[in-house]
Symmetry: C2
């Protein structure tokens, strides 16, 4: 009985790692849709989001069932609760990729990004996808040292986001207000995506060590 | 034993309702700080946020302890899990009020809001505080009908947010890009605050009825 229980718990962690892969791929495609003004790719991210939502519901139900049927304690209880939290964060990460894709679609066939901010989004996209992939590895391996590097990547995202603002806020910004608003919100979507990845990694560390790393509040 | 358990569960719901009151008051003060260019009020919201974070940690720990010690099932299990989710959403609502206050502080002694968007923020502030108060009532009374009116208030917030964008995006916007960026992010903070209130209400309805109302995805 306990054996079957631990199998189910292991399956749940695997499913969660799969969900990381899904949202990482969504953000990769959404970024390419944005940079390459690729409507088909944007549409694909938009139509695939329902799969992320379904995955979250399904894993949450499975976690609830484990709690109700098995009444786990100690580390097992923490693991199930971490799964519930992580599935919520991952669904949000999927929503953020969706917002990026919708922005690309809204302005099509015009590009959303003025030339001078393209390098920022190229790099923010890379960091976001790397974060999703690392988070996947953290869940699969429960590697606490790797979880710490997730926080470093998030620092890089915060730096990119801050520099992006100085570009938009520059008096010489020639692209007008509507473009600045788009770029502002897009920047926020990437920053929030990274924050959620950090949150999932921290919860995983909590499961392994019993202690939440750092006391940093994540944003919004 | 079960009696004491239900007392603790009731206390937990009360604490959560208190947390709604805290974040409603934070958003009320943050909005006044923004509209009245009141630095002292902004500072108060910023320094009080730590209380919201502490409340969340404390209620989450209490919920974990209930799960570990009592292994609740059925409605009791759902209630404890709703508390864990709700505490997370309420902490975010506190963070959003904090972001509004920090924006007011960053631009002080200049006002953040150009004259023509003041009415939007006056009204969005009112709706946000009303939502926090209603959510508090939904938790205290478990009134499913009241929970439905929370969704209506959220529709009003979405409409205000949409109209606000048409004002910023208007070619005649005379306040420049930096101001548009501030107003864009502020609008987003209010919209997200409302979305989180809806999420808490929906979870409460789920506890009462066993069914999540609607299938609407909340944003970001």
């Amino acid at each position: 009985m306990r054996e079957a229980y631990h199998d189910r718990l292991g399956d749940l962690a695997d499913h969660l790692a799969d969900m990381c892969a899904m949202v990482g791929e969504a953000m990769d495609r959404a970024t390419r849709a944005l940079l390459d003004v690729d409507l088909a790719l944007a549409e694909q991210v938009i139509s695939d989001d329902i799969k992320v939502d379904a995955a979250r519901s399904s894993y949450e139900e499975e976690a609830y069932a484990l709690l109700a049927l098995q009444a786990p304690v100690a580390t097992d209880l923490r693991t199930v609760l971490a799964v519930i939290h992580a599935a919520e964060s991952l669904e949000r990460m999927g929503d953020l990729a969706l917002h990026v894709a919708k922005t690309a679609r809204r302005r099509h066939p015009n590009p959303v990004l003025p030339e001078e901010v393209r390098p920022y989004f190229t790099q923010m996209g890379k960091v976001a996808v790397a974060l999703a992939n690392k988070t996947q590895q953290v869940i699969r391996t429960q590697d606490v040292a790797l979880a710490k590097t997730v926080a470093d990547d998030d620092d890089e995202m915060d730096n990119l986001h801050r520099h992006l603002f100085t570009v938009i806020m520059d008096k010489a910004w020639p692209h007008g207000v509507a473009s600045a608003v788009d770029v502002t919100l897009l920047g926020r979507f990437y920053e929030r995506f990274a924050d959620h990845a950090v949150s999932v990694s921290k919860r995983t560390v909590f499961v392994v060590t019993g202690r939440m790393p750092g006391s940093d509040q994540y944003d919004i």
